[in-house]
Structure formats: C-alpha cells, structure tokens
C-alpha cells in the first residue's frame, strides 16, 4: 500500500501558536527544553486557563501539538481535574465554598439564596453572561465560614440576606467599568 506522508508540521505549529498567547508559547517551549517535558502539562493548562478563563478545544489542541502530547491525554487530564473548565464562564464567577466548615455554618442556605437570586443552578451561567455560579472546595479561610468568592475576592461570614446586595454591587461595578471603557 502506498503511504503518503505529508509534512505539515510547520503549518500545524504556527496555527497552534496563534491559538495561544506568545507568553504561553514561550512557557511551553521552555518546558520542552526541560527534563520530563510532559510533566509540565498541568502547569501549562493552568497558564492557559489563567489567560482565557477556560480551556477551549482549540487551545487544548494547540497545547497537545506544542508539548507533543497526544490530544487524548491532554483532554483526559483537563477533564480529570475539577479546577479546569471546558466552557467559557460569566464575567463574575461566584464560587460558594462547599467545605466542611462552611457546610456547618450554613453554606447550603447561602447557596440556595444565590441560586434563587440569580435564577440559575450551581454550574450554570446567567443568560446575560454576567454571573457563573460554582461550588468550590475549601478555600482555606474556614475561620470566616461561610465563604463566597467573587472572582478572586473572598467574602467571609456571608448570610443569605447579604446576597442581593452582593449581586447588585457587582452589576454596578460592571456598569461602571463599561462606562469607563466608553469614555
């Protein structure tokens, strides 16, 4: 049988690089120079998610190409770990801590109120793309339980009553940011 070998390596590589940022590409190239390059896969995925907010199909393919790891493995790793997201998320990601200390201090009711006010379930994003609601494992501030994170900001000792104001203040924040960018 005739096997036709086409070398489209360069093309694939440059396409892969386009899907990522120059810094991430540089980081990956740096990793490939090290001992056990594959072992850096998780760190690379962190970098990608840190920039894009989630791991898109295109990015996963690009990482696989540049790090020379099978796509199946990249996907396997990306889906195994809870921290990685395969879908884009809202502008504000509200994370409710589902750790023990927060559970004991009534996180469940805070969570119910969040679902109620946002009209979505945990794991969903509001139709306007403003909020995503997620559950997270203990964030290590159990002393302040129950804890809610909005993006990276921690709110401690949250009561269900505070939820409407919390949401409102973030909507205002988004509006203010928009106004600024228009000016």
């Amino acid at each position: 049988m005739d096997v036709k070998v086409t070398d489209n390596r360069d093309e694939v590589f440059s396409k892969s690089k386009e899907a990522l940022t120059p810094e991430i590409v540089a980081f990956i190239e740096d990793c490939t120079q090290k001992q056990h390059p594959n072992s850096h896969l998780i760190n690379v995925l962190h970098k990608v998610q840190g920039h894009f907010g989630y791991l898109g199909k295109e990015q996963l393919d690009a990482v696989a190409q540049l790090l020379q790891v099978p796509t199946a493995k990249v996907t396997g790793v990306a889906t195994f770990y809870h921290f990685f997201r395969l879908e884009p998320r809202g502008r504000f990601v509200i994370n409710i801590c589902l750790g023990t200390a927060c559970y004991v201090k009534g996180a469940e009711r805070v969570c119910e109120r969040l679902c109620d006010e946002l009209g979505i379930h945990v794991g969903e994003t509001t139709p306007d793309g403003m909020f995503s609601l997620e559950g997270t494992r203990c964030v290590g501030t159990c002393g302040l339980a129950p804890v809610v994170l909005v993006n990276d900001t921690v709110f401690g000792e949250v009561t269900p009553d505070q939820i409407p104001a919390l949401i409102e203040s973030h909507i205002k924040k988004a509006q203010a940011m928009e106004k600024e960018s228009v000016v």
Partner: protein, 726 residues
C-alpha cells in the same frame, strides 16, 4: 565538621542582624498588620493602606509598618499589633479602616492604647506580665506551687495586679535548655527575660528587683532563647494563644513571611547549616527517629523511618516531595503555614533532601492557594540568590533545587501515588502499593513525600534537640499538632498543642466553647476520612492511636465542632457526597460503593429510609473499606461507620419516626407560626419567596404548607420568635 558551611551561615546571619539593626527596629514604633488569605478576606489590605496614609500624613519617620503572616486567630481578624519600645505590645482585633485611624491617632500619636479595640480584652494598661510555663515536664514545683507563690508575693509587694499580671502558658519550650527539670521557667514581659525559678526566695528576688525596680536578676537568668519566645512576647497575653505550644507555627504572625532576613534573624537555616556541616545524613535520620516525629499529613507514619527506607534503596536519583495539597475540606493549617512562614517548610525540605540524598524536590500545592504559591516562589528565588538552594548549598558539596507544581482540585491527588502521577503530568489516579514510593516513586525513583507541617517541624527538632521534641508529645508520638478549629466554636482558628492534649483543652480552654449557649454534640476530626467523637469523650487525649480507637482518625488536622443543631446523618451525607464526587473511578468498590451509600443516606434524610437500610449501609461500608484500592475509598465509609456507632439513635429517628432530631433535614421539618406570639408585623410575608404566608397587618399570619419551600427565611426575619421550626 565542615567549617565552610558554618562560616557561610554566620556571614548570612551577621548580614541579617545588621539589616535588622539598620531598620531601626529596636527603637522605632512598629505597626504589625497581618497579611494572608484569611487576613485579606477580613479586610487587612484596606487597613494596611489606611496606616500607610496616616503615617505619611503625620510626617513621622520613626514608625515601621510591618507585614506579618497570620496568627491563626481567624475570628478576630484583621489583627494589628502596636509595638512601642519598652512597652508591652498591644494587639487590636477586627480592625477596620475607621478603627485603624483611631488606633493611629489615639495610640501612636496620643500614646494611649484604645482599650475597647484590643484583642480578647487584653489589658492595654498592662505594665508587666509574668508568664509561667505549665508544661508537664517543666519544673518539679517543689513543695510549693510557684504560681501561688508568685501571687502571694505580688500582693505582699503591694503591686497593682491590674498592671502586673500573672499567667500560665501551655509550654514555653524552654525545656531543652533546662533538661534537669528542677525549676520552673518564667518569662517576664516586656523585657522578655527568662528565669529559672526554684523557690520562694527566687520569686521574692525577681519581684523586688525586676518588677519593682526594673532591674534584671542576672543570677536566675537563662541565657538562651526558647523556641516560642518571640511568639509569647507578642501574643502571650491573649487567652487563645497562651494555652498553645507553638513549634511549627513559632513564626506565624511574628515575622514577615516574605523576608529571608527576618527568618534568619530568628535562627532560620541554622539547623540546615548544622546538618550540612555535620556531614552525616545517617546522623540526621537518627535524630528524626529519636524525636518520634510522625507524619502530619494524616497517616502518622514515623518520618525518620520513611527517610531511612528511601535512603536504603540505592539509586542514582531520589526525589523529595512536599504534599501541600491540603484536600480535607475543613482544614487550613498548611495554607497558613505556607503563607506565614514559607522558609521554615523550605528549610525542612532541604534538610530532608540531604538526609535521603535527593537533589530535586517538589512542592505540590493546591491551585486554590494563590497567595501561598506566590510566597513559596518568592522564597525559593531568595534562597537561590543566597546560596541556600542550587549548587553547593552554603558551600557544602550538597546540591538541591526545589520547584512548585500545581494541583488542580482533585482530592485524590493528596494520596501519594496519585500525587506522583499528577506531578508526572498524568491524571491523578492512584496505583497499588507496594512498591511504596520510597522504593519506586516519581519516575520510578525512590521518593519521600511528607506533609507541610512535618517539614516545618524538622528545623526546631534539630535546633532544640530530638529528646526535647520527643518529650513534648506522648510516648509514641513526639511534638505538637496543629488543628484547624472551625464550626460551632467561639474562637475559630489555628491551634497548636502537644500530642496528648485533651479535646476539652482544645475546645473549651482554647476555643472558648460553643457559642449561643448551645450543647456540644460531637467533634469531627480527620475530614472525609475521619469520624465523629461524641461529647462524652472530651477528656480523651488527642493522639493518632486514641482517636483511632474511637473510630475516627487524627487526619491532617481539621477539627470541626458540631452542636445540637447538627444532624449526624446529614453530616455523614455531607462527607459521602464529597467522597463520591472525588472518587477517581479507578476501582469499583469505591466508585459504585460511595454512590450506593450516598443514595441510602439521601433516602434516610428524606424520610424514606427503612430499618434494613441501616444494615445495608453497614455491610456496604465495610465492603468498601476492605476492598478499595487507595486510602480515599478505604476511608470513605468512616464518617458513616462512626456516626452509626455513636449516633445510631439519630438514624433510627429518621427511619422509624421520620423525624430529624436536630431539625436540619429539610424534608422532615416544617415551619409554623405561633398565633400566640405573632403580632402581624408582615415581615415574614414580605420576605417569603413563594408568597405563601397570608395575613394582613396586625393579623396572625399563616404559612401555606403546600406552597412552602422551607427556605427558612420567615424563621430568620421574625423578630418576635413567632416562627417555629418543627
């Protein structure tokens, strides 16, 4: 002996001291502001900025704003300390921008501490404090109790007891210095002089000379610094702290976690220099064995033995890993340690690397801890710059480097073999042991994995002596354990106590008991792999073995206090939900078993359980426990087994009477308005999300039970106690 190492270290230490002197720390005013995830969540960054603004506006150049980590006093954060030369340090709690401004104008500028803002109502007017070590091996106390003698003599000398207080502390950690144990260790603040006191005569001399005249009694003075001197100097007057024994957390809340020099100033890396100059890894392993240090990550395996195992397996390459995955969803001591004193963990790791002959080491850190990651990275870079990491550490022939690898939110990755797979860039699934990692671990090479806290204990046990370390704990387990105390407890936070301390001491004397006059029901230890300890076992000493006998485990140190409002079936369900979600799916008993057990628990909490379900649950639990591949599956049934063992009556109430005794399980409760108490304020009706409460103004309100979704909002908002949960 390798003298190059020692002289290199002395050079560094000298440099650190010079920096310290030059910063003018001994004669300036220092404002300490905590900085850690917990502190920042409580608003510490704002407070920092407020002080910055105030200092700038005042134009004073004799004030230092000092960043420290967290002390572990979570429920009172942000904490601010004001240190004025020659005076007792004053700490403030729950500082806000407003109170920061007040502290600045009244205390810093005006010279008068703001009494109402101080931490734990410590007395700001305090002039002197005498701290007595109460450790069980400290002093024979002769015929007379030194504490009472001090009390007597202070009264007799006519000193104002408001200004000169006397307290006991858990252990000052002087014992290493004074092994003969014939006298009691006493520390006098604010000079922080340490005395050895034998009898009434000594006491009289200290009072007459030191307390009255302000002259130090050289005859009785101890020349060396005990391990937690600085910690007690700063926090000794707060009840929460002075019952603790701070060894691994000795620097938390004391030093700037981002400053290598401060760490060195407090004896940092001295243990490393001693280890390297000694030049004999076997000697190190022997010391660790002698200290009876057992792994703090949960299993409690003797650390010295683990190191010895790895060393025994000849290989060209060995690895060392610090497990900072902290997966127990109710624990935060490792985070706090890494954020407040990263160098101490790094020092322990380098020493460990030297002991087992590893040239490469890894920090496996949860991605959920960004500040900890940042501080480790920074500390590693500083260490490299100063020859404490990299080629020829401190001029010795030992080379090692450390790097950070991130977890990605999988609890199972805390398990050793899963963690190794994760560092290799794979899915974090465990494999069968043996071979144990000490024989074949990372990339097939001998690997030692230890917990953060285990490493943080290494330097102290070498500096203060392995026999001292062993003497702090119990017969089979040396040193202390840090607990993350949370749940229904007055003072949540980090508590470090000697192994063998009773639960009562931790929950009541340190933690301040249960808030709101509620009854303690149980204490949960060991997280999802652990169990509950009912209130009647409060006097149990805490140790690996005792907790095991009660059907729980020590675990990594999560300690959750449960009160009468907590339903034990629901607690078991909570942990089972966690384990089921975290099961990696590799082996059937765990994957399927956790699911089935969870289903049964759900049935029971919904009032659909049968008595057979309890037997089924027990059978399934022991099956999963005995046949799962890794520790996750093997421990997952523990919360069920232990709640069934100690609280079977609660299960039976759910099943037989369809009743939740703690009134927690939603399906089994309902809300009712008491017509005798309702005044018709309409508050509940306005807050009900389903509008199912009817009644006009000044009329008795009624809940429509069909429409009610049991959100409990009416219960929360009624100010007349008229809504009942039944």
């Amino acid at each position: 002996m390798n003298n190059t190492v020692l002289s290199r270290y002395e050079e560094l230490a000298q440099h650190a001291h010079t920096q310290w002197q030059q910063s003018g720390r001994n004669d300036k005013i220092i404002i300490q502001v905590g900085s850690a995830t917990c502190e920042n969540a409580a608003g510490a960054t704002e407070v920092w900025r407020e002080f910055e603004r105030n200092i700038q506006a005042s134009g004073r150049d004799d004030i230092i704003l000092h960043q420290v980590g967290c002390t572990g006093r979570c429920s009172r954060e942000p904490i601010v300390g004001v240190l004025m030369p020659g005076r007792m340090p004053v700490k403030y709690q729950r500082v806000t921008r407003d109170s920061a401004h007040q502290i600045f104008s009244r205390h810093i500028q005006g010279g008068e501490p703001v009494a109402e803002l101080t931490l734990d109502q410590t007395m700001p007017r305090l002039k002197r404090q005498v701290i007595l070590c109460e450790a069980r091996h400290c002093g024979t106390r002769g015929d007379e109790d030194i504490f009472t003698v001090f009390q007597d003599e202070i009264n007799r000398a006519g000193l104002d007891p408001e200004e000169n207080t006397l307290i006991h502390v858990g252990a000052l950690g002087f014992c290493s210095i004074h092994r003969k144990m014939i006298s009691t260790c006493v520390m006098v603040r604010p000079e922080n002089t340490v005395y050895f006191v034998k009898d009434r005569k000594d006491v009289q001399e200290i009072i007459a000379q030191h307390l009255v005249e302000g002259q130090i009694v050289d005859r009785l003075r101890c020349q060396e610094d005990p391990i937690s001197l600085r910690f007690f100097d700063l926090y000794g007057d707060a009840a929460f702290f002075n019952r603790q024994t701070r060894i691994s957390l000795r620097n938390a809340g004391v030093i700037n976690p981002e400053s290598l020099y401060e760490y060195i100033h407090y004896n940092g890396f001295r243990a490393l220099s001693l280890s390297l100059s000694n030049g004999d890894p076997d000697w190190l392993v022997e010391r660790v064995l002698e200290s009876k240090l057992r792994g703090r990550g949960g299993g409690g395996y003797p650390t010295g033995r683990k190191w010895k195992d790895a060393h025994r397996h000849a290989n060209d390459q060995r690895y060392l890993i610090c497990n900072a995955d902290e997966g127990d969803p109710g624990a935060f001591m490792d985070r706090s340690m890494l954020e407040s004193d990263p160098y101490s963990v790094i020092e322990g790791m380098i020493i460990g690397g030297y002991a087992i002959g590893a040239t490469r080491g890894f920090f496996y850190v949860r991605a959920e801890y960004p500040l900890a990651i940042k501080r480790i990275e920074k500390a590693l870079a500083e260490c490299r710059k100063h020859g404490l990491l990299g080629q020829n550490i401190l001029g010795s022939d030992f080379s090692m480097d450390l790097e950070v690898r991130l977890g990605a939110g999988a609890f199972v990755c805390g398990e050793e073999t899963a963690l190794i797979h994760s560092i290799e860039g794979e899915r974090g699934q465990p494999r069968i042991r043996p071979p144990f990692p000490t024989e074949s671990g990372l990339w097939g090479k001998p690997t030692v994995i230890n917990n953060v806290e285990t490493f943080a204990n290494i330097a102290p046990l070498l500096l203060y002596g392995s026999d001292w370390f062993a003497s702090v704990g119990t017969e089979f387990s040396g040193g202390t354990k840090v607990f993350a105390l949370a749940g229904k407890i007055q003072h949540t936070g980090l508590v470090e106590v000697p192994m063998g301390t009773t639960l009562r001491e931790v929950v009541y004397n340190i933690g301040g008991g249960i808030p709101g006059g509620k009854q303690l029901k149980a204490i949960q230890t060991g997280g999802p792999a652990g169990g509950v300890i009912p209130a009647e076992y409060l006097d149990m000493p805490i140790d690996f073995d005792t907790l095991g006998r009660l059907g729980s485990i020590m675990g990594s140190g999560g300690m959750i206090v449960l009160d009468e409002d907590d339903c034990m079936v629901d607690v078991a369900k909570f942990f089972m939900t966690f384990c089921q979600g975290e099961s990696c799916g590799k082996c059937t008993p765990c994957r399927e078993g956790t699911k089935r057990m969870l289903e049964i628990l759900e049935r029971i909490t919904m009032g659909k359980g049968e008595m057979e379900d309890l037997d089924k649950l027990e059978r399934l639990a022991s099956l999963v426990k005995n046949t799962s591949l890794c520790g996750l599956g093997r421990a997952a049934p523990n919360p069920i087994l232990s709640t069934l063992r100690h609280f079977r009556d609660e299960y039976e109430a759910h099943v037989k009477e369809k009743r939740c005794p703690a009134r927690k399980c939603k399906t089994l409760i309902h809300y009712e308005i008491d017509p005798a108490k309702c005044v018709g304020c309409t508050m509940c009706a306005r807050n009900c999300p389903t509008n199912c409460i009817s009644g006009g103004r000044k009329e008795v309100h009624v809940i429509d039970q069909v429409e009610c979704i049991k959100c409990g909002r009416c219960f929360d908002v009624c100010r007349f106690d008229a809504v009942n949960r039944k």
